[in-house]
Each structure stands twice: as C-alpha cells, then as structure tokens.
Amino acid sequence: MDRLLSLLLALLQPLALLAAAPLFTAVVGRFKARLQNRRGVPLKTPYRELRKWAAKEAVVARTASPLFRAAPYIVFASTLLAAAALPVWETASPGAHVADAIVLIGLLGLARFMLVLAGLDVGTPFGGMGASREMLVANFAEPALLLVVFTLAMTTHTTNIGAMAAATLHGAPVLRPSYMFALAALLMVAVAECGRIPVDNPSTHLELTMIHEGMVLEYSGRHLALMEWAAQLKLLLFAVLTVDLFLPWGLATRMSPTAWLLALPLLLVKLAGLALVLAVSETVLAKMRLFRVPGYLTLAFLLALLGLLSHVILESAP
C-alpha cells in the first residue's frame, strides 16, 4: 500500500507541477500587468497557446539536422524529470531518491545543453547569438546554484532535497546568515536561468537583447509547444525549489492525505508570494545591457560563495 502510494506520489507531484506551470507563468504576468495598470491576459491563455501550437504543423528549416527535432523532447523530458526530484507537498518524495539536488542541477544542465545545441543547429546568426549568451548565463548561474545547494547540504548533511526540507522542518527555526545569502543567490539565479528581467525579457523579440527567444526562434508547432512548456515548468521548478529549500514550513512530512490538505494551500500561498515578488521586481527593474549581465551573474555567484563561507566560518564550529 505504502509503495503504491509512494509511486503514485512520485507520479502525481511532477504531473501537478507540469499542469500548473503555464498557470504560474500566467499568474506572474497577471500580477505584473496589474502593477503596470494593465488588465493582462486571461489565466488560461498559456494553456490555449500550448494547445494551439501542439495542433499546428511544425515547420523546420532546411538546414536543420535531426538533432533539431529531437531536442524539444529531450529538453522537455529532462526538465520534467528535474521537477520530479522536487518534493511539492510531501518531503518524502520518491523522485528525490532517483535524483538529488546535484542531479537536478545536472538535469537542468542537460536540458540547457540540448536547447543551446538546437539554437546552433539551424545556423542562423540569432540562434548562435542566443546560444552564446545562454552559455554565458549558465557559466555562472549553474555553479552559483550548486553553491546554494552546497550551503544547505553542509547544514543539513544531505543532498536529497526532501531530506533537506525535512531537516529544516525538524530543526528549531534558526536565523542563518548563510541562508540569507543563499536565498538571495538562488533568486538571482532563478531570474537569470528562467530568462526574466533584468537578464532577459521573455516578451520581446528584439534580437540584439534576446537570449532564450533567440534559441527557439526557429521552432514552431509542437516543438515550440514543448520548448515553451519546458520553460514554464522551469520557472515553476525554481519557485518550488525556493520553497523547498528555504520556506519548507507546512510541507507534509508523513504520507497522509490530511497533511497534504494542509500543505497544498500553504504551497499555493507561498508560490503566489514568489510570483508577486517576481512581478514586482520585473516591474521596478529595467532590462540590463548585455555587457552588464556578467557582473550580475558574478554577483550571484559571489553571494552563493559568501553563503557557503559564512556557513563554514560562522555557523559550524568544529
């Protein structure tokens, strides 16, 4: 019974995330629109777009190789698998055993690897440009993310995300300077990784500044649908990751539906909060010049490093 339940959980949590991903993006957009005194698009728009793309004919450039057509599936699958590693409302997530935090980052790396290759495949200047910039972002964002995970792993002595969350839940609430730095770093990384302002602007096709859109410019139809869905999932994934690592209070630690009932609304509140934070920051900040992006990313990396060091220096007396 327990095994079945846990298998169900393993399937249910990522599927829930997958299902909620377009919604989360829409919510962020809605908040943002409201903050900018606009009405914004309906919340179901992303779902309709996905359906529309999936139904449409896929057009592929003559110069594209088979990799171009395989990439969306791999990107989608690996992002979904990464999401499966996250405990959503229940810390004892079975997915977290298949893939711990480091594997999660690795899977995101795999997704990005294929995404970038897809961008390079057609051989247009935009694709190359987007790819080159994406790798610049990855160059710093990925290690910074790893360092964030390390900081928590050093405190909780595990790299299993569920176990991390559980450890934070079980311990007395402590104000840790290292967590502060790590949280700041994680948020900055998330913004960069998901291609949000101020690093990238998801709603523009101004070719000189775009990153993510540059890479997927040649995609259409079902391929585009998968790519976009994966991107939306990634944004939600980072939000849930933030929740799991830094705000796990409320997560169910036992496998019981009653605990889930408490956990789910709390999760929604937390996610909504994060969406609001993202919307506010996107509203008050302007997109950076590309030359400034390395500075931004270096700052994120440094913050993560500071988190790690402050953990070693301040928090863990030998």
């Binding site: 190789s65 088979p66 690897f113 290759l117 247009t124 790819a131 790798m135 998968l226």
Partner: protein, 661 residues
C-alpha cells in the same frame, strides 16, 4: 579464473604490444602488416590488459615476481595489484577500440612520405612502456618504462615532422618529459635513501617529514608535468594536436592516467603517512589546473587543442579529488577518503573512455573533412552522422550532465567535498568548499566548451569547402568509436558495479571500501544522504520523450515541412553569417580576460582573435631567454686566444695549489 592469472595475462599484454612494435617493422616493405599484424596484436594486448586488470581488481591481491634483468643487485620487480589493475583496465578499455580504429586511420598515411613502420613500432613501444609503468615494482624498471613511454610518444608526436609546429610540439614535449622523468627519479631517490629501490622496501621505510615533503613535491611536479598540471602543462596542447589522432587518444586517455597512477603509487602507496599539507597543495593545484584548463579550452579553435585543454581540466579535477582524499585520510576519516579516491578513480576511468572517444571522433573529422579548425567546420552531423552522434555522446559526457559517466564522478567528488563539515581544521573547512565551488565553475565552463565544440563543429552549416564535401569514415573507425560509446554507457548506467570494482583499489590505498549495496542506486554515504540512479534517470528521460513524441505525433502523418531559415524577412542567412567559434566564446573572453594572452588583428584578409596561454609569456619564454643569455656567457670562455687558455691553465694551477697548501 584465479588470481594467479593476472600476472601472466599482463605479461601477455606487454608481449603483444612488443610484438606489435616488431611486426610493424615489416610495414616498410609491406604496408598491410600494420592492418593484419600490428593493430590486431594491439587489440590482443588491450584485451589481455583488461582481463589482467579485472582479475587483479576482483581478487584484490598483489602478485609479485622478479625478472633477471636490470642493474646488479636490482633485478626487475614486476607486480600487479588492484591499483595497477584499475589502470590496466583503463588502458585495455581504450587500447582495444584504438586497435579497431587504427587500421582505417593510418590508411591515410600510406601514400605519405612518413614511415608507417615508425608509426607502428613506436605505437607498440608506447603501449609497452605504459604497461611497463603499471607493472613495475622497482624504481629502475619504473623509470625505464616511463621514459620508454615518453620517448616512443615523442616519435609519434614528431611523426608528421614536415610541419614545423609538429617539430616544435615534439621538442617541448620531450623537454618537459625529461624534466618530469628526472624529477620523478629524484623523488624515488629520496624514498630510496632509507631502504632501496624496490617498492616493497620503500613502502616499509618512512622518510622523515622534511624528506617526505620533498619527495611529495618532486613527485607532484614530476607526475604533474606528465598529467598536465598548470603551469607544467604547456606540452600537452602542443603535442596532442600534432600526433595522429589515435595516438592523441592514447596519450590523452591513457598516458595522462599512467602519470596519475604513478602519482598515486608514490604518494598514496609508498610515501608513508598522509599529511593534510599535501592535501591542500593537491586541492589548490588541482582546482587551478581545472579552472585554467577549462578557461583555455573554451577559446580554442583547433578541435584537438580544445580536447587537450579539456584533458588538462579533467586531470585537474582528478587531482582535486585526490587532495580531498589526502585531507580526509590525514584527518582520520578513511571512509570519506575512500569516497574521494573513488571519485578520482571514477573520473579517471570516465575521462579515459570519453576523451578517447572524442579524440577518435576528432580524428574521424580530420579524416573525413580534412580540418581540425572549428572555424571551418559546421553541419558535420549531416555529412558524418554516425561519427557526429557518437561525438555528441562524448560531449555530453564531458559536460558532466546526467545520465552520462562524467556526471557520476563529478557527483561523487561533490559528495566527498560536502563532507567537509567533518573536518576540524578551520582552514580545511574553508578550503574544501572553495574547492567544490571552483569545481562547480569548472563544470559549467566544461559545458560551454563542449556545447561550443559540438554546436559549432557539427551543427549549423559548413563553413568551408572541404567540410561541405566531408564523408563518413569507414566501418573500422566507427566500430572503435562505437565500442567506446558502449563502454561509456556501461560505466554511466551501472556506476555501482564499476565502483565496487574500483573499490578494491581504493581499499588497497585507504583501507576502506566505499560501498553501495545493490546495483541500481549509487548511495556511497547511505540512502538518505544522497542517492543517484542513472538507469532510472535514463528510463524516465526515454519514457517521457517517447510519450511526448507519441502524443504529439501529427495525426495525418504528413512529413515535416522544410523551409529556409528565418531571415527577418530578408534573404535566407548564409553560412558566413553564423556565429564563429571565437565569436561564441567572446563573453568568456571578456569575463576572464586577465587569464588570456589576447592577440587580435588582421591575419591576411580575416580578422583573427587568439586567446593564448600566459604560461608561455610568463614562464617559458623568459626561461628560454635566460638559457640563451647564459649560453652566450659561457661562450666567452671559448674566446679563441690560446694565450688566454694558457692563462686559465696557469690560474687553475695556482688556485689549486693555494687550496691544497
């Protein structure tokens, strides 16, 4: 099959390698000798080495014998133990595919002016030298085999000696190999002062702390030169591109590991008690090497140079892991040390297979498209699909993404580094996480390196005529690569089994086995702390991907419509409008500018950017200039005037008389 088979099998491997060298000599008259004799014998050698290594690892015992050769009072000691077995396994695993690949590759040289006999003979000697290093159990035989390895590979680097850069590369290579050899010799000299030159005597004797530290430094510099540690790495990016590709594969995949083996043998086996000071040195050197290697790899245009710098990076991470092992061992955490050491060995094995695959792939590209320059490539995936897809596997592996083998070793290293909280010394507690941070940065850079290599080289559109007309290589060459892909898949998907094999070498050095029960879940620190199941990862990836494909498959079954690429409404983009290799790496060049010796300007009609290695301008060129100045000074002694010579004679006599009186 019992343990006593290991040594005869290893002997067979050496004999087959020597036989391959000897039979290659026939190639001067009969070029097919290479195909029908030399390469099959290399394959036999590879299989025998693999078998010997497996037996040694499985049995966990040491077998020793003496051969009646060598110096008076110091016959050749030959031994095989799990540590040697682990590296024999690596060697054999690479040698066999190289033997498959070789005949097709050397066919291109058949009509050249370079002697195939030389190529084959030196290859055989090179392999025999490497095997000898792994099997030697006394300093003299070790050095003999070591230098044989260096010398034979020198001739191989010099094989295409019409090209000045080959000659230069070979010279730099042999010079640094000589430096390395002598440093290692001195390290053995220090170790031998108390006992003798046989390894058992060295193991039994422990030099005092100062001498041990000196021996450590000597060994680090000596083996580090061969392993490509910064700043002693400069030979590597020169020599690898110059050698024929199957040789580059052997050099990068195996020879660097042989250097690693030597270091492990001396420092972890013979030197005596571990010191955390050694560990710190290793971590710092390893991290620096890894970072610089990756930073420089990102800027290379020559595919093989890029791979060479990537090898530097990988060896850096291996040494970093070794440093962690040393630190934990010295701090009294043998289980953690075992984990770090396992990470190092796993990384070595994984890198051996991956880098061999990539070099063979680069050789195939050179064979099929006649270029090594990324700036001329593009779209090779369509011209050479099989090579291309296999190259992609290599690239993914080197970028350390799951579920490939590069990720496993990285994951293990991180897990070891995350045990820093167990340490008591505050310096170490800071250093180890910092090392992990630099490793994280390195890994990210490695991903950039290989995205760029594959994306620019194999995707997009051809940037030159010869690449546009590239052709796929023959079956033998593909078979070699495919074999490696299969091995990589095995190592990547069944890391627990590989870890338990390598574990016997770890046990020998640290006294602990880093165990994971079962075969599916890699859980070296217990299932709740960290776990990784690559087979499941792959299964899910494939499942989801297939599911997506099935679900989204177009109903009417119409083929995908092909159109021109989007050109913003203008004419379709031309190949020249693609991002170039140097353009792709421009952000990194800007961010890490101080690391590079940048040179920009017009070279003929093309604008050229070169991001060079500062080791040359900071260390080696000044040294060379100093050497020349000293030589000019010494020439003054030979002034040409007989009276001055006589005056020297008189003065020497007077001085000597004054001294003795």
């Amino acid at each position: 099959m019992n343990a006593s088979w290991a040594l005869p099998l290893a002997g067979l491997a050496v004999a087959a390698a020597l036989g391959s060298a000897a039979s290659s000599l026939l190639a001067a008259r009969w070029p097919r000798a290479l195909t029908v004799l030399a390469f099959p014998m290399l394959g036999v050698s590879g299989i025998a080495a693999q078998a010997a290594g497996l037996i040694a690892l499985a049995s966990g015992a040491r077998q020793t014998t003496l051969l009646p050769a060598g110096l008076p009072g110091l016959p050749w000691h030959v031994a095989i133990d799990p540590l040697a077995g682990a590296f024999l396994l690596m060697l054999g695993a690479v040698l066999l595919p190289v033997a498959l690949y070789g005949p097709g590759y050397v066919r291109a040289f058949r009509n050249g002016r370079d002697s195939l006999a030389t190529l084959g003979a030196c290859t055989g000697l090179f392999v025999a030298g490497m095997l000898g290093v792994l099997l030697a159990a006394d300093a003299f035989l070790f050095m003999l085999a070591w230098e044989l390895m260096s010398l034979a590979s020198y001739f191989l680097v010099c094989f295409q000696h019409d090209q000045p850069e080959s000659r230069r590369a070979a010279f730099v290579y042999l010079l640094l190999a000589q430096v390395a050899g002598l440093l290692i010799l001195m390290a053995f000299g220090v170790l031998a002062t108390t006992g003798g030159f046989a390894f058992p005597a060295m193991r039994a004797a422990h030099p005092d702390a100062t001498w041990a530290a000196i021996a450590f430094i000597l060994a680090l510099m000596g083996f580090g030169t061969k392993a490509g540690l910064v700043p002693l790495h400069v030979w590597l990016p020169e020599a690898h591109p110059a050698a024929p590709s199957h040789i580059s594969a052997l050099m990068s995949a195996v020879m660097l590991k042989v250097a690693l083996y030597g270091f492990l043998r001396v420092v972890f086996d013979l030197l005596g008690p571990p010191q955390w000071g050694y560990g710190i040195t290793l971590v710092v050197v390893g991290a620096t090497t890894a970072l610089l290697g990756a930073m420089l790899a990102v800027q290379q245009v020559d595919l093989k140079r890029l791979l060479a710098y990537s090898s530097i990076e990988n060896l850096g991470t291996v040494f970093l892991a070794l440093g962690l092992a040393e630190i934990f061992q010295a701090a009294g955490h043998p289980a953690m040390a075992a984990l770090a050491l396992l990470a190092a060995l796993f990384q070595a094995l994984s890198h051996a297979l991956l880098k061999a695959l990539l070099f063979l792939g680069a050789g195939a590209v050179q064979h099929g498209a006649h270029t090594r320059s990324l700036e001329q490539m593009g779209g090779l995936l369509r011209r050479m699909p099989r090579t291309g897809w296999m190259f992609l596997v290599g690239c993914l592996g080197m970028s350390a993404v799951p579920p490939l083998s590069g990720f496993v070793s990285e994951w293990l290293t991180f897990q070891a580094a995350l045990q820093a909280w167990r340490l008591h010394d505050s310096l170490l507690r800071i250093l180890v996480p910092l090392a992990a941070a630099s490793l994280a940065l390195t890994t990210a850079l490695a991903a950039v390196v290989f995205v760029r290599a594959f994306g620019i080289g194999f995707l997009g559109r051809a940037r030159s005529r010869q690449v546009r007309h590239a052709h796929e290589v023959g079956d033998g060459m593909l078979a070699g690569q495919a074999w490696l892909v299969a091995s990589i898949a095995g190592v990547a998907l069944f890391p627990v089994l590989v870890a338990s094999l390598l574990g016997s070498a770890v046990l020998q050095l640290t006294g602990r086995v880093p165990g994971s029960p079962g075969w599916l879940w890699l859980t070296p620190l217990g299932p709740t702390t960290a776990s990784y199941a690559p087979l499941l990862v792959l299964a899910v990836l494939l499942g989801v991907g297939l599911l997506g494909w099935v679900v989204l498959r177009p109903r009417r079954g119409a083929p995908v419509r092909r159109v021109d690429a989007w050109g913003c409404g203008y004419a379709p983009p031309t190949p020249d409008m693609q991002f170039s290799a140097m353009g792709f790496a421009q952000p990194q060049r800007r961010v890490f500018a101080p690391v590079y010796a940048l040179r920009e300007g017009f070279a003929g009609s093309a604008y050229e950017v070169v991001a060079g290695d500062r080791s040359w301008s900071w260390i080696y060129r000044p040294l060379g200039a100093l050497m020349d100045r000293t030589a000019d000074l010494a020439r003054r002694l030979q002034a040409g005037h007989v009276r001055r010579y006589l005056a020297w004679s008189l003065l020497t006599l007077l001085l000597l008389l004054w001294i003795v009186s």
